[in-house]
Assembly symmetry: C2
Homo-oligomer: 194 residues x 2
């Protein structure tokens, strides 16, 4: 519930950043201490000392990934108004090729948390769904934000974004998928009355 370390110790954040870069291109599934330690110029002993155990490291990496995720969410709160505009805004971020390693990591953690509810993955999938639904709610106009229909609209918007992301990660066909997302924002903008 509470943060275990108020001051994460400069060395710890430094190694975490390096391990994060390693995880972005190697994935989390078969991550093991010795290879990652060798890659970031450290040792398994030090990782154990700083993160307690392997699960602690994985949890820290997941939390680090969430920082990047939240960094893109934040501008939505202020500048964007309306669900279609929010979807368009998020998609432009998702479609950027440099973000793909992060998104692959996200997909991996999501799927893993579905199969293995225990362990460091915890309720990753569930919490990421509710978090995003909450963010999308802040972009909706007032009558729609609190109604049942507004929740369904958010759910649809989120599903479209996530499904499009899955397609993009698999095929890389940005043009086709972007056209589909834009089509969705179009119909969402012209038919909020259902």
């Amino acid at each position: 519930m509470t943060a275990p370390e108020p001051t994460p110790s400069a060395r710890k954040t430094e190694l975490l950043e390096a391990a994060y870069a390693y995880a972005l291109e190697h994935g989390l599934a078969d991550l093991s201490l010795r290879p990652v330690a060798a890659a970031i110029g450290s040792s398994p002993r030090v990782l154990m000392f700083l993160f307690g155990n392997k699960d602690g490291l994985v949890k820290a990496l997941l939390a680090r990934a969430r920082v990047d995720e939240l960094a893109m969410i934040e501008p939505l709160h202020s500048s964007v108004s309306g669900l279609p505009e929010a979807v368009a805004h998020v998609w432009t971020w998702l479609a950027v090729e440099e973000h793909r390693p992060l998104l692959r990591l996200w997909a991996e953690a999501y799927a893993r948390s579905l199969v293995e509810p225990d362990g460091p993955w915890g309720g990753f999938a569930e919490s990421t769904v509710t978090d995003w639904l909450a963010v999308l709610a802040t972009c909706q106009p007032e009558p729609e934000r609190t109604t049942e229909q507004g929740l369904v609209l958010r759910t649809l918007a989120l599903a479209t974004l996530r499904g499009a992301l899955l397609d993009l990660l698999a095929t890389g066909d940005a043009a086709r998928i972007t056209a589909a997302v834009e089509l969705q924002t179009g119909v969402l903008a012209t038919s909020p009355e259902v």
Copy 2:
């Protein structure tokens, strides 16, 4: 390219079926020979003999899962006409609670294939996207089936289904997500002109 065994040997299919049941509830990520062999009343030696190596077993399990997947796709070809109807039809299948282990397995394989293009996961994600797009195409009326807009519509339909599936697997909130999918089929049915 070709099937390695025209007659998979009764014993092999029997053990594959048992291992498939095991994988459905334990996942593929940390599958290892000894536990699965013990669970299905066999031995690692026999699994090696029948499937060559672990990757062979995993590939066989993935192929077995695809059989279930194709079994639901098939009725789409004949009875369903129109993309919205196809989406509704697929979703009713996806939402059935008994299918959830299979869908979790699917999500796991999909994510894994994104991170690890080599190995038995191969191009699982990419092939599953193109396969489904092809199936959805057969449900579209003729002018729309071959146009660029038709491809975009298929892409959007598939994205909605996959995104909704991710939500369902994480939250299990069938009512909310089903409402979102039905909303989507509604707007897709009334606005094919974009």
